[in-house]
Assembly symmetry: C3
Homo-oligomer: 397 residues x 3
């Protein structure tokens, strides 16, 4: 990338108001367009430095804490890689060998883990009504300790997936779309089908479809959401989608079938998620410690899913998309029929054709997370990125 | 902090003899006053650099190993943060996925983990007669490998809590007291009540009260220890407390009740610990693998504790302290009545009033551990800290 | 080490063709003599820098991933220490909290963990026919993502022990021999006895004896392999040993007893391993999930081992070696009779006499792994090592 292009990118970034400084990155739809655009630009700048072999280290020392309340390979790696790009060491809080819990203890533990901490990354996506609430508890706790001058710096929280949103995923997806179509402005008028798809598994979070549905209409895309009855998403992200579509000149509507959603689509995102009614009962049963009922709920959920096995992304459906060549997206791992399970979200033929595209899609995540951290830690991220280019420190000897 | 104050601090540090160089930090009462004062001064210097946003990185590369034989959130974090402040990467030895054991194998494993290691932090506080012994085994093992020129450098052991002492806690507490009262010399003549308090839990180590009791009389404090019969502390720290009190002009005595200890106190430290007779039997039963007897011992211990439920720090007791405004201290987590348990060590009202003070108290630990490491790794820590100020490298871009 | 000696070492290194650049280090016998000699020289250069307190950091930021499919203390530490020497942060992939599996998923996960990764270290040594195969799957997967420009850099795989070879061990052992006898050329004509020894344990990999047997004849050593019937090693490393012996003027033969192998030996390496027939059945039973048969296989294996309890390295056997003073080697931990088990591989007297030698032997491993990484990451490792000397950055302030 020629030097002028990098400079143009930083100039654009410098124009935006950085309201994430000394704050968190929790729910994309609560933040202004400046914030989202800033993450996109900082991501692109970091990827440019990386491609040129230049160091993006902006911390001489520093700590990032991660808390994973669900299994994770991809996001765990991406978070660590992001921190490493910036020079932060990471420490994972293992709740089994410690004692972090809700309420009073969250407040205390959050303070205890923040004395020398720049970033706290949290994944807590398993139970409706919990993950975002927990992040807010941690956030207000570190804010209190900062206000009371117990902490010299206020660590930034990064949402690595909660019950409501998965912003590091959705903004990675947006970066991928932007690169694929030749810039974020080229997304205007492109049709994206965010649809449910069958999977023989239970309890998949709603946060990915919610994050995608709320984010893409901001860029003038025509988003169509489709799912079987009972698989509705939550109100807040849908209302955000509606509002953003109006503001941007894009559109947002809900369809009843994959066929309708795929019709003429430029992009398709078929993915399974759980019915919210089941997720809500699951939270209640867990609170009650009713393991027998939990087991029978799982059976019930799988039986409900199985009624919609026809929600399957295959070549026949793909043929309905624009020119038959829509971009297939997935946050991975996908349930590929005949490969990872008998019947899944997508046929082997379709998945194989787009397999490397999904890898590319995933490759943005470390840089998106690093960009979010940059915004929360530096008042003027453009200045910091300019310094990284000018000092010409190479990543390796 | 003006430059002159920092320089004065380093001058004072430079005056002290650093006998911890190329050695360990295991039991505070075995070391001279120079050593304790050096840790305090180095802690203050590191906190100053941190507050000014200057890097305290003194290692370009380097490894620290931690071995935790008990659950830990706070100390684990503090150790990692301390290492990060200095530029050391940390690796936790997980004994479940390795094979470190006592005796012959300790010697071997200690050598195997020391080839490129600067620091080994160990917590081994569960069994009387074990933790300090284990640390000494590791220490003599690394000394042997160093003497035999297998190791180019001798890694330093840092006691992150053993059965006898918890020096990173007690010196953090001392730093907190020093800041609270306006300097370590202002502690002279201040009364500190280190008292037992009821907790519905079993097997809490004696090392915190022992560490506090042995440390504070060195600074001219009037330390009063109080506990129910059967909850006596070990001889070595008590004799040290006696000796130090005599040397410093402070005092040390044992009282029979919280009331007596709290009377006119400037500082109170009510905290639960286990009866040593039960701890000793526990070690024996564990060695014998007698799990049935261990279970009944727990019941016995809890019943014994329950006889002393009146040992509870509430507002009525606090009113007896100097002006009713003694500083409440706790190493956390505290058992707060009606919050973390029905009946505990401290009432919610008292704890809430001092909650943020206990966070502040905890905030010294990463810097105290880093100061200890600095003393063991550098012959002249004052020179190193001077260089950190003079080079003016910022912690972040 | 005087500057000229270091320079001579780098000159020699500069002469060799570096065919590991942008590739992996998997099986030592598949690589040319240049490669092995380069690892030796780079190891020596890194140890020199370390001894002089100079920094070997060649990465400003960077990630290494480790995947351990078997318990490990020594190699895990050595890998982390090696990465730290070079400036790479390490992240261990915990397969229990993630979902990496064979086949399709390996390809995907390997890509997902490689976006910002320089090195992937894998130990997978438990099952015959699996470890090396798995490493090749990961290798071809990262190669595909690199070819498709999803990855900007191709991470290098380092074999931290597979079912076939344990090259970081064997080359550490070679470094130790080279130092012990005064240079790699001094190994010519030295007799090394690689022999089986009894151990009351089951399923020890064949990779250490295979690695030693295939490597040492390349340097003109006279290698004698001895084991009871049924404990044969695999064809590929034995054929390599034969070929290398012919090329170097050394020799390789198989003897029927420890006595014969030890006769006049300069070096002895008595170590237990499992019969390949049992290892093969073990893999089959594991695939079939036949846990009952697996348990009875273990009994059978132990009974088979027990027939050969006389394969024990004691003073009587040591007396047969050259001047009664052969160097005893072991990759550790050894089964020492009367110490770690009743009857083991070696008597306490012999082991104790060589205990510190085995520590020294182990001490090369971090540097050997770092040397391998250097070769895979830098086209001209000699230039990089020269720069490390010339910049004179100290490892600590």
């Amino acid at each position: 990338m020629p030097r002028e292009k990098y400079e143009a990118l930083l100039s654009a970034l410098g124009e935006f108001n950085n309201d994430r400084y000394n704050s968190d990155f929790l729910l994309s739809w609560r933040y202004g367009q400046d914030t989202i655009r800033s993450v996109l630009l900082a991501t692109e700048a970091l990827r440019t430095l990386w491609a040129e072999g230049l160091s993006t280290r902006v911390f001489d020392t520093g700590m990032a804490i991660s808390i994973f309340r669900d299994q994770s390979t991809r996001t765990r790696y991406s978070f660590r890689a992001a921190c490493n790009l910036l020079g932060l060491a990471t420490e994972e809080l293992n709740e089994e060998t410690s004692q972090i819990k809700h309420g009073e203890t969250v407040r205390e533990t959050a303070a205890m883990l923040s004395f020398c901490t720049d970033v706290i990354g949290i994944r807590d996506d398993m139970f409706i009504g919990r993950g975002n609430k927990y992040m807010n508890e941690v956030s207000s706790s570190v804010q209190e300790s900062f206000d009371e001058q117990i902490l010299r710096r206020r660590p930034a929280l990064i949402n690595l997936q909660c019950d409501l949103d998965h912003p590091t995923q959705s903004i990675s997806d947006l970066s991928h779309l932007s690169d694929y179509f030749g810039g974020v402005d080229a997304l205007r008028g492109k049709k994206l089908a965010m649809t449910w798809a069958y999977s023989p598994s239970y309890g998949k979070p709603l946060s990915v479809p919610q994050g995608i549905t709320a984010l893409m209409p901001r860029f003038g895309m025509d988003v169509v959401l489709a799912h079987p009855p009972g698989y509705e998403l939550m109100d807040e992200p849908l209302q955000a989608a509606q509002r953003f579509a109006k503001e941007s000149g894009g559109s947002f509507k809900i369809a009843d079938s994959m066929e309708e959603a795929f019709e003429g689509a430029d992009v398709v995102y078929p993915k399974s998620w759980a019915p919210i009614s089941i997720m809500n009962r699951r939270t209640e049963l867990l609170d009650a410690g009713d393991h027998a009922a939990l087991a029978s709920l799982e059976g019930e959920a799988l039986a409900e899913n199985a009624k919609h096995r026809s929600w399957h992304c295959d070549e026949e459906l793909m043929a309905k998309t624009k020119g038959g060549k829509a971009l297939y997206m997935h946050c991975l791992p996908a349930d590929v029929s005949g490969v990872s399970c008998e019947h899944g979200e997508v046929s082997e033929a379709v998945f194989d054709r787009y397999r490397l595209n999904t890898y590319k899609e995933a490759s943005y995540k470390p840089f998106v997370i690093a960009a979010m951290i940059l915004l929360t830690r530096f008042e003027e991220p453009a200045e910091v990125l300019r310094a990284c280019m000018e000092r010409k420190t190479h990543r390796s000897l």
